[in-house]
């Protein structure tokens, strides 16, 4: 190592030490940095000449140049922030009344990779519904917007096979991935692997699913399912004036997403003594199963429901269709919750069903990708991040304007029934026409196609 290298490195070490302790005596700092006192004296005098440090009786501290550096850095950060907004749009704030009680823990990569461009792997759990296709499109969109940061992006689908997903992630790392983005088939099963990767300095960002306690990951990006359940149940309770029978349709007894929404909604509804809750069998997020469950409930209770709380759009679509099939006239169907897909809004607006929804946004893929790139650059990132959507509701009721997107403005009559909202890809997005260009994708074709995919 040359003496030139040592001098500059010592200067950078001294600045890093002053970041930690702001000020220190020359003797202590020289000892801390392992620099002979005479050399340290010459080093600091030279740095003082340029205003980097200030040497005085009270020790060594950052000099006047530090303030200029702060100012310049602020300008650079503001410019970068503007660029990010132009590329990715604005983040929606937390839903009213659902602001988190605690800030998230922070995560810093164990090892900072100073590569100019990164290789990223996206291990997707599968492509069994339109939402998962939209998630992949969001991730690919983010990759295209981070073009300059990337050497290659690899996307693999695991067909809901946890073992296959584990193999795919190992393959991505063996092929040189610097970090991986994972929509996990089974977060618990992946835990040993993600722990291994993080220890090896490879950031792992989980998206959509992965929120099991103690799951080792750099960050988990999702949407707040408790808030979705809470806000939609509050809307429903207000809409039915706090009384009557409410049918609850939920997706899956095992899915964390479904449990969180359902639990939060029940907590809200239990605060209304005049509301009676009737629970249907789990529908497994299947439109036909939701239709069957709602039909059975209508037959059992004679259709006397004040409202129907659904945890998702697939359930609300099945339920509204069941009410229509049971000869309920437009405008007589009880209020529903659950949106996400275009058909929910088409049915609600068309049959004048009061409806409210907070979409579960595939745009979390964009955010998760950006978090991974930031972590690869060595930045400290939130270990947990919610991507919010705004409340969508049909007009009427007591919803304050400005807090809501009206369903008649959200519905796309010109688009397919299974169009998923909240992708972050803009109003012109259609899954069929989606083309994308990012490093590693030579033909501008998406890694996810809607062919053979259920709504």
């Amino acid at each position: 190592m040359s003496s030139q290298r040592n001098g500059v490195d010592a200067a950078m070490d001294l600045m890093a030490a002053l970041v930690k302790q702001s000020r220190g005596s020359g003797v202590d700092l020289a000892a801390q940095l392992g620099v002979p006192r005479a050399s340290f004296y010459r080093l600091t005098r030279m740095m003082e000449r340029y205003g980097i440090v200030r040497c005085g009786r009270d020790g060594i501290a950052p000099g006047p140049l530090a303030r200029a550096m702060l100012k310049a850095h602020k300008v650079a950060l503001e410019s970068e922030e503007k660029r990010q907004r132009t590329l990715f749009g604005d983040h929606a704030p937390a839903l009213p009344g659902a602001l988190p009680a605690e800030p998230p823990p922070l995560a810093r990569p164990a090892r900072i990779n100073r590569r100019r461009r990164f290789r990223i792997g996206f291990a997707n759990r599968g492509l069994t519904n339109a939402w998962q296709v939209a998630l992949v499109h969001s991730v690919e969109f983010a990759a295209s917007r981070h073009f300059e940061d990337l050497e290659a992006v690899t996307v693999m689908h695991a067909d809901d096979d946890a073992r296959l997903q584990e193999e795919q992630i190992r393959q991505m790392v063996a092929d040189g991935a610097d970090g991986v983005l994972v929509s996990a088939v089974s977060p618990r099963r992946l835990a040993p692997l993600t722990e291994e990767l993080i220890a090896a300095g490879k950031p792992v960002v989980l998206v959509d699913r992965g929120g099991v306690p103690d799951m080792p990951c750099t960050s988990f990006v999702t949407s707040n399912n408790c808030a979705i359940g809470q806000v939609t149940a509050e809307w429903l309770a207000h809409r039915i004036k706090g009384r009557g029978r409410v049918l609850m349709l939920w997706g899956h007894v095992d899915a964390e997403l479904s449990q969180s929404r359902d639990g939060a909604a029940r907590r809200v509804l239990s605060g209304y003594p005049d509301i009676e809750v009737v629970t249907a069998d789990a529908t497994n997020f299947d439109r036909d199963a939701a239709h069957a469950a709602a039909t059975a409930a209508i037959a059992r209770h004679g259709g006397e429901f004040a409202g129907v709380w659904c945890d998702s759009g697939l359930n609300s679509v099945g339920s509204i269709a069941a009410f229509l099939d049971a000869k309920f006239e437009a405008g007589r169907i009880p209020p529903h919750t659950g949106g996400d897909i275009n058909l929910s809004y088409k049915l609600a607006v068309g049959a004048r069903v009061p409806l409210a929804s907070v979409d579960y946004p595939p745009a979390m893929g964009i955010r998760a990708f950006s978090v991974l790139v930031a972590a690869l650059r060595g930045a400290t990132v939130p270990a947990y991040l919610d991507v919010w959507s705004r409340l969508v509701a049909t007009r009427g009721g007591n919803v304050p304007q400005g807090m809501v997107i009206w369903a008649d403005q959200r519905v796309r009559w010109d688009m397919p029934d299974d169009l998923v909202f909240g992708t972050g890809l803009g109003p012109s997005y259609t899954p069929e026409a989606f083309r994308v260009n990012y490093p590693g994708n030579m033909r501008n074709r998406s890694a996810a196609s809607r062919q053979g995919v259920d709504a």
Binding site: G7, L18, S22, M47, G59, A66, R85, D90
Partner: protein, 184 residues
């Protein structure tokens, strides 16, 4: 200090001083402005980038990097706060839909360290509600404060929730200072 060593240190210092002007510069502009030999310029920038003192913009030009920003915070005794502030205050801005300003305090005056602007924020907007929350050092002394500007006339409940969350964020920033060695 050898002649070579002094020359290297001078190159390093000049690059920092040039980039502190706030204008991103290409490597050729930096070399010309700092009057460096090309090999010295390339080598120095590479080493500074590896330590985070400079970073590259998407068009390949150089600006001060996060280590430079943290050193700027250190001028106010808040270097330890830098990383936590970047992550937590951007998060607070997004969640609360508020413009968040971090101000350093010397006990008498406040200096703006950084602003995380909400999408709706413009500097010429008037009549914004401001929430103030202190950031305290481990000894309880105020070393900085958060100023949250909310623009949509939130109701009392929203203000209370935002304030409660901002206080917790401020406490976390205070914790980041706890690892700092005591000032000499």
């Amino acid at each position: 200090m050898s002649v070579t060593e002094a020359a290297g240190l001078a190159a390093f210092s000049r690059i920092l001083a040039e980039l502190s002007e706030g204008r991103p510069m290409s490597i050729n502009e930096l070399i010309a402005a700092c009057e460096l030999r090309r090999s010295t310029g390339f080598d120095m920038v590479r080493r500074m980038e590896a330590r985070g003192f400079v970073s590259r913009t998407t068009d390949g030009r150089y600006t001060l990097g996060p280590a430079g920003g943290a050193f700027g915070y250190a001028a106010f005794g808040l270097g330890q706060l830098y990383e936590a502030a970047q992550a937590l205050l951007a998060w607070l801005r997004d969640e609360a839909d508020a413009t968040v300003v971090l101000e350093a305090s010397d006990g008498a005056t406040y200096t703006n360290l950084q602003t995380w602007s909400a999408p709706w924020f413009r500097r010429d907007l008037t009549g914004l509600s401001a929430l103030l929350v202190s950031v305290a050092a481990p000894d309880g002394q105020e070393v900085a404060r958060l100023r949250l500007l909310t623009g949509r006339h939130p109701d009392d409940r929203a203000v209370e929730e935002t304030l409660a969350l901002a206080r917790k964020v401020a406490a976390r920033l205070g914790e980041a200072l706890m690892d700092a060695a005591p000032a000499a």
